[in-house]
Symmetry: D2
Subunit: 343 residues, 4 copies
């Protein structure tokens, strides 16, 4: 925290600011400059709200300078976190992070046994390393399809058994965490729950990795603070997921913020994947954005694949057909070789 | 839903679109225009995703045209909903809506008995009609003060008993709804839970009014859809709350969207109040924005008042002092008379 | 500028930062804190780009702390600037600022003599103090009506002569400044030219006041920097105009940022008016937002009034009819009395 | 344009809407649906403002359905436009579009002869096909370096002569177009002038290609409408440039919208390049975003390269060093081979 005084601030006003710093329990440092004086607080353990100072006499501006996330930061933990999951029927573990590009694919929603198994076999055949599928669906409209719930979880478990792929599925309420964790290998927190702190705390108590989607209006700092909730609770197995942010542009569902990828990798040791399907909402944009995610340095992608997108109950128009997904995988493998990334 | 064809679309392409409409279970209507043909679907019961058509041959654009909220809409229910609550110790009911401007005031967080009772007495004396106070606090950082929880609820109940003011307090997880409803008169859903559908469904089952804050990145339509979740569950007692949206402007915490007020009043019968404290995060902006809310046609305001903002554990810099709140009330009363609003 | 080092930064890294500060021509100040050290530069005459430091070893963050606008700031010039214009045929001057609420009204575009004179008489009769009207129209589509240009300027001059109202009209290119300044009393810079610095410099050389609209994506700081361009050129007669910013909300044309009003009045001595017509694009929202602007502390409003909005060539749907404007004026006068503002 | 009536609209209200359509000079088409009736206008030559209808009795919503850009649209002109420039001293032409990935590189600003020639030689050696460099600089602050102007143009011409690279430089005002066009091979319109229609019209009259940057708050539709201004004036040689949009995220200067690339390529025949330097403002993000641009299907990149970024007068922190640029080029060439793009 730095409190910058006006050029015309009186010594009394500077003293009042210093006294206020002390009254909050911190130590002030006066810094005389050529044109003005500033008062710094650098020893504070947590964040200090700049607003405490902004209306005081002589104060020009109060600026917060500390990074508020700790355990998730690369400063604290310089080495890449790698998520590694071995299912009972797989030959070897599925991995994301530390130079390994993970491929999470599957239907947006688990609609039924046949649809999910068909999708699971297709993505496995094309080289996916994780299976996604939603059993609990958060929907903007109460009149939309709300998911197959427990039945869906059981279908996912069957798909895991058959393909050996670890399953990633969303949990939408703290009261479901136990049940979902019984079936899932990775618990997904959706964008609308990105700041549902009760849910973040609940999943922090589970010994299963968490895939945390960026809130559609979360800053990168808030996104990492949400991860901090999970890590602080004791669960270090967090996969971040960039899935687009809300902007003024109406032609795409969200604006995929790929510039966040190299930035987030600088700030945190946690792996980050990209979901081009939900970011764009348009299957014609999914493959270009999946390729761009790899090129930008992401640790993986998460892609909707549906055996028959036209009949999908949820987000069909953004789903790839199995043959489109296979074609994408071929391109990604060739690119990964050039970019020296493991797949 | 209207599917606009290219000027150059062939009759076969138009037929394919019509067939696709039929395959989704609806009836197509071909509309020949001067330059191009369009295919309309007007009889569909729910929304149809425009993306089903946008990649078909000859299709220029597919536009969704139906309003997705129903029970909350003024089209369905033309008369203003009025929320009216009578506490055991009050002389008469507290009201919001239908031409009555409600005043919700109190501390951001219930920090302790003394602080809350002092605030409650002060806002009652100045003319507030509801007491606000948070016992469960959703905080961006896991290292920030998280609320006094059950103790806080008990303090609020005591403040209600003493002042007769109905209490409004936040519920942050579906598992707490029963407990909070035992104490609160109005259950508040915060901005970060604006699309926590499990929580919306939980409060829809309670026989107490709900104050629903707009998500910081919710469109007006999504805001009304969130209300629709509560109303559809059977709870028609919903108070909407505009509290600022997230924009590119960094100097205010959020951008208060007062233009939404007359628009929302045209679209829905539910009352809408404005929270200038959380919208701006700056006590010097609270009074101007509270006055502007009344002038814009809102049904009430929700204001943070703290006996000693400098010592507040949460959001002190946005809290009014009791004397500032009283001064605001005097101005609002004079304005209300001019604007022919009851207070 | 403050460069905050990591807790683990070595003395050599701190020295390298200090040396870098010196190499840029400034003086470094080392500030030891409880957990980390910071290096401050406070004597720099202009802004220093934080990015110079952000990739250096041991640097956690570099924060810019100086206010970049000077002549427009209240810090430099504490007293309100008042714009006062006396036309040849008026009884007294028209004023904006310093406690006087100015009323700028008239058609969005000067379409013809009859339409403009009718509108001018109507707004004058209802109490407007300035006449607005666009002769040069910046339009998103090259196929839309582009304005009546020189003919329009002459019609405005005739309307001024008849009503005594000073005229405000837009200038869209530096090559037109001389011509527009010959006719106009106030030169308007539109939102799309808010960072057209060549145009800002051109109007800074004119001895006529400038009404500067906020760019639809300008931060408050950028808005004041645009004003600084005009003031730095020697033209202190600047009226700021808040007209809505671009956000994710699609239901209103822009989001009117009324919270900016009290903030801008704290930061600058220049008067600020609100344009509710262009902010909302919807005549039903204009009156509530005009009332809210007065309640928020603005120095005036700028409102589209058209004798027959249904036939307007530009922005008809946001224009008030003369009788709606007169009704608004009645309400504003009653509110101004309560709020102790002169009109 | 489609006007959707309420389910409860009366036949009289429907007739009034039809009459209004006729009064605007168009032909109404009534479309009875299962639940409601709609009135369509499909033969209108230009856009009709939906707001004409939205307050009429019985009207639920009015939706605009026509694409407002024509000459720039792929619907009108299906084949890719290729920009090809041959300078006097080059062995062959430099190209962008139609499957050829163009490389535009050079200093943000022309600061002096030595700096520019050094940068030009370096980017030529590494394989750039165009030289960028700003002589006229639009700067947010009037106190920042404003460019070397005519001297800068002459230095660029010398750099072109020596390297054979065509030069791209910005023009900031209509009064400079003639002078800049005398020196430049491609005229750049910057993001702050993206809706400076006077300038767009001026460059539409020049027989040199135009590189048009997306406005930082332009929707894709507005971006293409700006291109339409240039094309409509007779200049079909337009290169679009995505350079990031303004969002709520503060950690990057802008949010690079790579999802716009495949979308824009679907909508228009004009080539589109990406500027990762101005989009991110951070040299560590430039290479990942340049790679991502190629992977997303862009027709080229535009990158700041400076011989000594630490001493740059403008945007040094976002500039690549020559060796970083050369390393990027090596990677891009390897990726282009895999992606079957010519470089």
């Amino acid at each position: 925290m730095l409190i910058l005084m006006h050029a015309t601030a009186s010594p009394l006003e500077v003293d009042a600011v210093a006294a206020k710093v002390r009254s909050l329990g911190f130590e002030p440092h006066k810094m005389p400059g050529a044109q003005r004086i500033a008062v710094a607080i650098t020893g504070n353990p947590g964040p200090v709200d700049p607003a405490h100072f902004q209306h005081m006499g002589g104060v020009a501006e109060a600026v917060s300078i500390s990074k508020p996330f700790k355990l998730a930061s690369r400063e604290t933990h310089p080495h890449d976190t790698v998520i590694s999951i071995q299912t009972a029927t797989a030959a070897g573990p599925s991995r994301i992070g530390g130079g390994i590009f993970g491929i999470i694919a599957g239907p947006c929603a688990v609609e039924g046994r046949e649809q999910t198994l068909t999708a699971a076999r297709a993505v496995k055949a094309a080289g996916a390393t994780f299976l996604r599928g939603g059993a609990f669906k958060p929907r903007t409209s109460p009149y939309s399809f709300q998911g197959t719930k427990l039945d869906g979880l059981k279908i996912l478990a069957e798909a895991r058994h058959e393909t050996g792929l670890p399953i990633i599925t969303e949990v939408v309420d703290s009261s479901h965490v136990e049940q979902v964790a019984e079936y899932a290998d990775v618990l997904q927190i959706g964008t609308r729950n990105a700041q549902n702190f009760a849910l973040l705390e609940a999943v922090s108590q589970v010994r299963k990795p968490v895939l945390l989607k960026r809130g559609m209006s979360s800053t990168i700092q808030e996104f990492l603070m949400a991860a901090e909730y999970v890590v602080k609770g004791g669960n270090y197995q967090v996969i971040l997921c960039e899935r687009g942010i809300r902007t003024f542009e109406p032609m795409t569902r969200n604006t995929l913020d790929l510039g966040s990828i190299p930035l987030i990798k600088r700030l945190t040791h946690l792996p980050i994947v990209v979901d081009p399907s939900h970011a764009t909402g348009d299957s014609l944009l999914v493959r270009p954005m999946a390729r761009a995610a790899l090129a930008a340095g992401a640790d993986g992608i998460m892609v909707d694949v549906h055996p028959d997108p036209d009949k999908a109950l949820c987000d069909g128009p953004q789903s790839l057909r199995p043959e489109e997904f296979a074609e994408l995988m071929t391109t990604l493998r060739a690119m990964a070789e050039v970019l020296k990334v493991s797949m």
